[in-house]
């Protein structure tokens, strides 16, 4: 069985989104990064270390938050996170202090002495994140961190991840099957499908090049389209909307002038940042 093939990607520190449908190979990739699975062929480097050969060195610097339930219900969060801190090699006292800190950072401070079994899904996700943070890793691997959360919980979790990636100075790999979620917080996006790389690039590179202006006029859409084409502005028609590629600030003026010249009632003119989803839309529709 091959879960991943021909996947070549290298990323800079920061928040990295790893996107793919269920079964695309995200979890397999994480297991390879952790050195739990050896790649059958090819070469993996985490902090310039080979996770298969230097598993201990890599794992000491990596925090992993699995997708599935992984909390014993009859322990308190403080006890559990402390224990896992010691499993990462922290001395007893340090483990206890770091566990309290990690739980405070994820927003579980008052509740940390209660048994995990009585926690809500959102709180459990936070404990899972805290245990990944307890040993102060340089890299966090988060597998579907927003799984099972309500919209408010998702926003809180994403904000927390963003904070970890920016303020804490820890690189984060966020796996998700929801593109809309990760694109909000990540610097770099890696999209895989069926074990193959779809695209890997900076989020800025993916979005800025595709910014478009949406022009809508109450009447005379065809006239305006013709005029814009004659002005060397490529136009794509989408119902009543005209999509014009935004090249520079002058594009605005040229469109406004064209509308004014034709004396058309302008309904709206706004910039639309193409969502990353549209970059993959061809593929997604092909799946349906």
């Amino acid at each position: 069985m091959t879960a991943l093939s021909d996947l070549t990607v290298s990323v800079e520190p920061g928040i990295i989104g790893l996107v793919g449908a269920n079964g695309a190979g995200k979890s397999t990739l994480i297991k390879i990064l952790l050195g739990l699975l050896p790649p059958t062929t090819g070469d993996v480097r985490v902090f310039d270390l080979d996770p298969t050969a230097d598993a201990d060195a890599v794992r000491a610097r990596v925090g992993y938050m699995p997708e599935h339930d992984c909390l014993p219900p009859d322990l308190s969060a403080a006890e559990f996170v402390t224990h896992l801190g010691r499993m990462s090699g922290l001395p007893k006292t340090a483990a206890r202090e770091r566990a309290s800190e990690a739980l405070r950072h994820v927003g579980l401070y008052e509740e940390r002495y209660r048994q995990v079994g009585g926690y809500s899904t959102g709180m459990k996700q936070r404990v899972k994140l805290a245990q990944a943070l307890v040993h102060d890793p340089d890299l966090l691997l988060l597998d579907e961190p927003t799984n099972g959360l309500d919209p408010a919980g998702r926003d809180a979790m994403l904000a927390l991840i963003q904070r970890i990636g920016t303020e804490f100075g820890i690189s984060v790999v966020v796996c998700s099957h929801l593109l809309g979620e990760v694109e909000r917080i990540c610097d770099h996006l890696v999209a895989i499908d069926g074990g193959k790389l779809l695209r890997s690039d900076h989020i800025a590179a993916m979005t800025t090049t595709t910014d478009v202006l949406v022009v809508e006029v109450s009447e005379g859409t065809d006239e305006l389209a013709a005029r814009l084409v004659s002005l060397d502005l490529p136009v794509r028609r989408d119902g009543r909307e005209l999509h014009v590629l935004l090249e520079d600030d002058e594009t605005y003026d040229r469109i406004l002038r064209a509308v004014a010249d034709l004396d058309l009632p302008l309904h709206r003119l706004d910039q639309r940042r193409h969502r990353v989803a549209e970059l993959f839309s061809d593929r997604e529709t092909a799946h349906v």
Partner: protein, 293 residues
């Protein structure tokens, strides 16, 4: 301005930001030791709720009461009802039960709650995990029975006259504890291997007791065969009688064996070593597989 500080709202958490950890990161040996220590505490329900303490401490109570009674009989009448070596063998059922409850508590619980990926994403190898848990179980069982044997010795020490006799008794006690440890190793290895295959603690406990029970009738049948060799070898089939045979070979004074192993003592020893080695090997394989799934 102490009044100002006194008036400051209490219970406010001041966000001092994220602090990087600069302290020491200890190696595999420390991690192994921590997991072993935690396993030992878990075995006796320490650091857990009241319910987790009931069974282990009930067992401790029974072992201690039996030891106290034996001690009392010996101090009052001078009669040795059970020798140190006979002690773990006579309480073998209790030991099987203890392994059947504590073994799943140590490993099935982790399987059930899915906590293993958190261990194996840390610098703890799957083999370290398995061996630390096994060491915890074997130590817990040994400690349990050693406690009873020490009680028996303390009672004897006060009644025996002369240092020589006390020293003799002390040596017998050490041999008895060694025999308890052999019991613990064989029973623990079998129990932990079975428990590592099952997620549910109750099912695992049943399976462990079953594995020990199901072999007993086989021993019984073999022991009644008209062949002396078959009778002598019957004990090899069940872990309980296997360890009993080792006791007859190494720890019981000649003539007082209760099983009848003939001259096959070394074979009993070899089979026990192979059984433990096989169980440990399978346990390590099991966790190598678990870590990849």
């Amino acid at each position: 301005m102490s009044e100002v500080t006194a008036n400051a709202p209490s219970g406010v958490i001041h966000d001092i930001g994220y602090q990087r950890y600069v302290g020491p990161r200890l190696g595999r040996r420390y991690v192994f030791g921590s997991l072993y220590g935690q396993g030992l505490r878990t075995a006796f329900g320490l650091g857990r709720g009241f319910k987790a303490k009931i069974f282990p401490w009930l067992t401790v109570g029974v072992v201690c009461i039996v030891a106290v009674v034996l001690m009392a009989i010996r101090t009052q009448t001078g009669e040795v009802v059970l020798s140190y070596a006979q002690f773990p063998q006579t309480l073998g059922v209790l030991m099987v039960l203890f392994c059947a409850i504590v073994g799943p508590e140590l490993v099935s619980r982790d399987l059930h709650s899915g906590v293993l990926p958190l261990y194996f994403s840390r610098p703890l190898r799957p083999s370290d995990y398995a061996l630390a848990k096994l060491a915890a179980l074997v130590s817990a069982v040994t400690m349990l029975f050693a406690a009873g044997q020490i009680i028996m010795f303390l009672g004897a020490a006060f009644t025996l006259d002369g240092f020589g006799l006390i020293w003799d008794d002390f040596e017998k006690m050490l041999a008895g504890i060694a025999y308890s440890a052999i019991h613990a190793l064989v029973f623990g290895a079998v129990a932990l291997l079975i428990a590592s295959l099952m997620k549910r603690r109750a099912v695992a406990a049943g399976a462990i007791v079953g594995a020990f029970l199901i072999t007993a009738p086989v021993v019984g049948v073999l022991a009644t065969l008209p062949s002396q060799t078959a009778n002598d070898l019957a004990g090899l089939v069940s872990p309980v009688t296997l360890v009993g045979g080792i006791g007859d070979w190494l720890f019981e004074p000649a003539g007082s064996e209760e099983l009848g192993i003939g001259s096959f003592g070394p074979l009993y020893g070899l089979v026990a070593v192979l059984l433990v080695a096989g169980c440990v090997a399978l346990l390590l394989m099991r966790y190598r597989k678990v870590s990849q799934s």
